[in-house]
């Protein structure tokens, strides 16, 4: 593809769509006449591949409405997929010699993706079958290992713009799928029972008006009874199980009044059928079971989608390492690593195991493990921990511990135990359940007493009718529906919420514990302070060109464009750089390094260095021709929206606390910038300390929202009332958290809070509406106006009201 930056006719500079993904093409990338333009190299590569394979129809099938994203091509060799360790875990053999595998694909977004991936058998010999699940992004492949290797399949998928990954969490997904199937069965059976009972009910209504011989009537009622019993005993069993658990644990739950109404209604109907007297309410009962299950099904589906999405995020995190066989690098699955293996860790990669450096020097970002914002420079003989990210340099590491035996692995154990002790969140609707049950029982008793003098038979009839029609169908539907809609909208906006109760829990004032590095700060080094001429900075940036150290990178990023001709350069890793730029000798580095090369630092420079240190920043000093002229401070900069977000959180009634694993000086400096007072800032907090703080607050009866991104936050995230993992976090924090914010910064956190508040408001509106219907029902039942036909009309009407309210509610994404 030709990138033509010289000519771009003014008429088309407005907006040119990428020929692959349809996004706007940056002006510099717009191609000359006739040729397609691409927004990024990824799209260009994928477009070329698709064209070469004569799969251009992909572009006709593309859905305009679907979300667009530029294609990514990882360009990896995917050798690790051919490894025995991978096959043992992910590949199943069939009798005919073909293999089955499920791969998680990145970048699946529309119908055309399904078409493209499922063309695989035609473009790659040996692939027998390919099926893509668009929603979960998982491809099920069947291939002949004698003809094609898995890595070749993976490379082809990668070339099409869907980098494949091992499908991690497959066991969890299988368990969720089994549950989902059970729900589908329940839903269908309940629907069949409800529909058929309704058919017989219509015949009975007709008989009621026109007359019907008693035998036929009894026959129809017996059949209805049979359907009702089937409905209650099979799909309806969940309500009885729930009610029983609620009684046993003494935790109120909405299933209790539901089970009560279902039991009494069925017994009453059975008695009347057998004695051939009075009314029956079978149609209402079966419809209640069906509608409540619909609500539950939708809610479960939504949280299942969220969990699948989180699992996809897991799978996308790198699960391979470069193992050295002699001097040859091989991509190997992490699971296959053993102590004594040698691995190579390049710039930008994460160390996969605990070990000792054998060759090379590199700066490691250990923020995920400890919360420290300053990178550590480690060299031969130093130990590195799994989860550290290489920020510059290349090292070979001898593995000492891998998998669960690493420091990160042991921390994950704490996460699991913390998650187990977490107490469940009681939902508003469940809190109402107890009072609701008591009120309904009292009203039924009152009805019976009032009618007793009139006729004993009618007293029982009306009391039972009241119990049945107040069955909290709409009440039970309100929460699942409102929450389902809200979670769906939240997921579209990059806020993945695991469960319904979470949104409710987020609405009350709480102790908000913020992690520092990566959460309120950007998590990468930046130039935060510079005293000295700006022109020097341009030249320093030029001098640092090509140096792969976080400080060098930060200095380069600090200027729009480096200026200066470098004629000589000497790098002393971990200390500084010396060189000649535009004929002047520049020395940039730590104060001691520069001092050694020039002379003792003058007092005003020393004072400046001290000021930088007090702020918790890393000082660098710059000398020109032997004279110290500038002092800079580098550190982890606050996110631009952090201060406003913390302020907004306090205004919502939350108490904000900063808990950092970093040095106290850094934590205090950042905390002060955020506007927190000294008592709510704590530095040097180990993962265990964070967990302890969260547990202490929980023990004193407070709600705790933990916001963090690292492995060191994971245990606290799991223990907190609501754990919120922010974008770019470690996978451990993903696993532990209840909410995952896919967009960076703290603004999504506020959006989550506001959306949750609106969701709770929507739930409350729905609950109020259904209570009004119940009140009307009570009045009708107590006055004796109610009959099965009225009940059968009123019940769906109340449910319809709740459904409408739930779907029209503003929750996430619509600002009021």
């Amino acid at each position: 593809m030709a990138i033509d930056s010289t000519v771009s006719p003014p008429t088309r500079s407005a907006a040119v769509a990428c020929a692959h993904c349809g996004l706007d093409v940056p002006r510099a990338r717009i191609a000359a006449d006739g040729k397609p333009s691409f927004c990024c190299p990824g799209c260009a590569t994928v477009h070329a591949t698709i064209h070469a394979l004569a799969l251009d129809r992909y572009y006709e099938l593309q859905d305009d409405a679907a979300a667009r994203r530029p294609a990514t091509v990882s360009g990896k060799s995917f050798e690790s997929l051919d490894h025995a360790a991978f096959a043992a875990e992910h590949v199943t053999r069939r009798d005919d010699g073909t293999h089955d595998v499920v791969l998680a694909l990145e970048g699946v977004h529309c119908a055309a993706c399904v078409w493209l991936v499922e063309r695989l058998p035609r473009i790659l010999p040996g692939v027998v079958d390919a099926r893509l699940d668009r929603v979960s992004g998982r491809a099920s492949l069947r291939y002949d290992p004698a003809v094609v290797t898995l890595s070749a399949i993976a490379r082809t998928l990668d070339g099409l713009g869907y980098p494949p990954h091992a499908n991690r969490g497959a066991a969890r997904q299988a368990a969720r799928r089994a549950r989902a199937r059970k729900h589908v069965v329940d839903l269908g059976v309940a629907g069949a029972c409800a529909g058929n009972t309704m058919l017989f009910a219509f015949a009975l209504y007709g008989g009621h008006l026109e007359g019907m011989d008693p035998t036929t009537r009894t026959m129809l009622r017996v059949v209805s009874l049979a359907f009702t019993v089937l409905s209650l005993a099979w799909p309806g069993r969940v309500f009885f199980q729930g009610a029983w658990t609620s009684l046993r644990t003494r935790v109120p739950h909405m299933d209790l009044p539901v089970a009560l109404a279902l039991t009494i209604g069925t017994l009453f109907g059975a008695r009347n059928t057998l004695l051939d007297v009075g009314d029956t309410y079978f149609e209402s009962l079966t419809v209640v079971v069906f509608l409540l299950l619909v609500g539950r099904f939708l809610q479960e589906k939504r949280s299942r989608d969220a969990l699948d999405a989180v699992d996809l995020l897991f799978s996308v995190t790198d699960a391979t390492v470069r193992r050295l066989d002699g001097d040859v690098e091989r991509e190997t699955p992490i699971e296959a690593l053993a102590p004594g293996d040698r691995i190579r860790v390049r710039h930008g990669e994460t160390v996969a195991a605990d070990g000792m450096i054998e060759r090379g020097t590199a700066a490691f970002d250990v923020a995920f493990l400890t919360g420290e914002s300053k990178p550590r420079t480690l060299s031969i003989g130093d130990r590195v921990l799994a989860g550290s990210r290489n920020q510059g340099g290349e090292v070979d590491v001898v593995v000492e511990a891998s998998g669960a035996r690493t420091r990160a692995g042991r921390l994950m154990e704490t996460v699991r135990s913390a998650a187990e002790t977490k107490s469940p969140i009681v939902r508003t609707v469940d809190r109402m359940a107890r009072r609701f049950t008591v009120v309904v029982l009292v009203l039924a008793a009152v009805t019976a007493v009032l009618w007793w003098g009139h006729s004993q038979e009618r007293a029982v009839q009306h009391a039972v009718a009241l119990l049945i029609v107040t069955c909290p169908c709409a009440l039970g539907l309100a929460t699942p529906l409102a929450v389902t809609v809200a979670l769906g909208r939240a997921a579209k906006r990059g806020i993945l919420i695991r469960g319904a109760d979470v949104a409710e829990a987020l609405c009350a004032p709480a102790l908000v514990v913020l992690d520092k590095t990566g959460t309120v700060t950007t998590g990468s080094m930046q130039l935060c302070e510079w005293s000295g001429p700006a022109t020097i900075l341009d030249r320093v940036a030029a001098l640092e060109a090509g140096v792969e150290h976080p400080i060098a990178i930060a200095l380069r990023q600090a200027v729009p464009a480096a200026r200066g001709v470098v004629t000589q350069r000497h790098v002393e890793p971990g200390f500084g750089v010396e060189g000649v730029v535009d004929g002047e000798t520049l020395i940039v580095g730590s104060p001691r390094y520069v001092e050694r090369r020039t002379s003792a630092l003058p007092p005003f420079i020393q004072a400046a260095v001290e000021r930088v240190r007090v702020r918790g920043l890393t000082p660098i000093v710059c000398a020109r021709d032997g004279l110290v002229e500038a002092v800079g401070g580098l550190g982890d900069a606050l996110r631009p929206d952090a201060k406003a977000a913390v302020h907004a959180l306090s205004k919502l009634g939350h108490e904000v606390v900063l808990l950092s694993g970093d040095e106290p000086a850094v934590a205090y400096a950042i905390g002060r910038d955020l506007g927190l007072d000294i008592g709510s800032i704590e530095g040097l907090a180990s993962p265990e300390r964070k967990l302890e703080r969260v547990r202490a607050a929980l023990a004193s009866g407070r709600r705790v929202f933990m916001v963090g991104d690292g492995v060191n936050d994971a245990a606290a995230l799991a223990a907190a009332t609501v754990g919120i993992a922010v974008s770019g976090g470690a996978e451990a924090s993903l696993e532990a958290a209840d909410v995952y914010l896919a967009k960076p910064g703290l603004e999504p956190l506020l959006e989550l809070m506001r959306g949750s508040a609106r969701t709770l408001a929507a739930i409350r509106r729905c609950l109020r509406a259904s209570l009004v219907y119940n009140a009307v029902n009570v009045v009708l039942a107590m006055t004796g106006v109610l009959n099965p036909l009225v009940a059968a009309v009123l019940m769906p009407l109340s449910s319809l009201t709740v459904v409408t309210l739930a779907f029209r509610a503003r929750t996430f994404g619509d600002e009021p």
Binding site: P36, H47, A54, E60, Q62, R181, V184
Partner: protein, 69 residues
């Protein structure tokens, strides 16, 4: 209304058969993915572009119909 004594059991037999068929389909995983099959049935088996009309997308200058090789 004697006919009801024939019709109702027949109807019940149909319902029973439907429920059995449904439960078997659900347990076999036919309802696992409710979205992709709806898309898949739109694709023709062979790359012939006749079946599906080209998308009515606004032909931006850079978005011209890809040339067929």
């Amino acid at each position: 209304m004697m006919i009801l004594w024939v019709v109702v059991p027949v109807a019940l037999a149909f319902v029973a058969a439907a429920i059995v068929a449904y439960v078997r389909a659900a347990r076999a995983g036919q309802f696992d993915d409710l979205e992709t099959p709806a898309i898949r049935m739109l694709f023709d088996d062979d790359g012939a572009p006749a079946g599906v009309p080209p998308q009515q997308r606004s032909p931006g200058p850079g978005r011209a119909e890809p040339k067929r090789g």
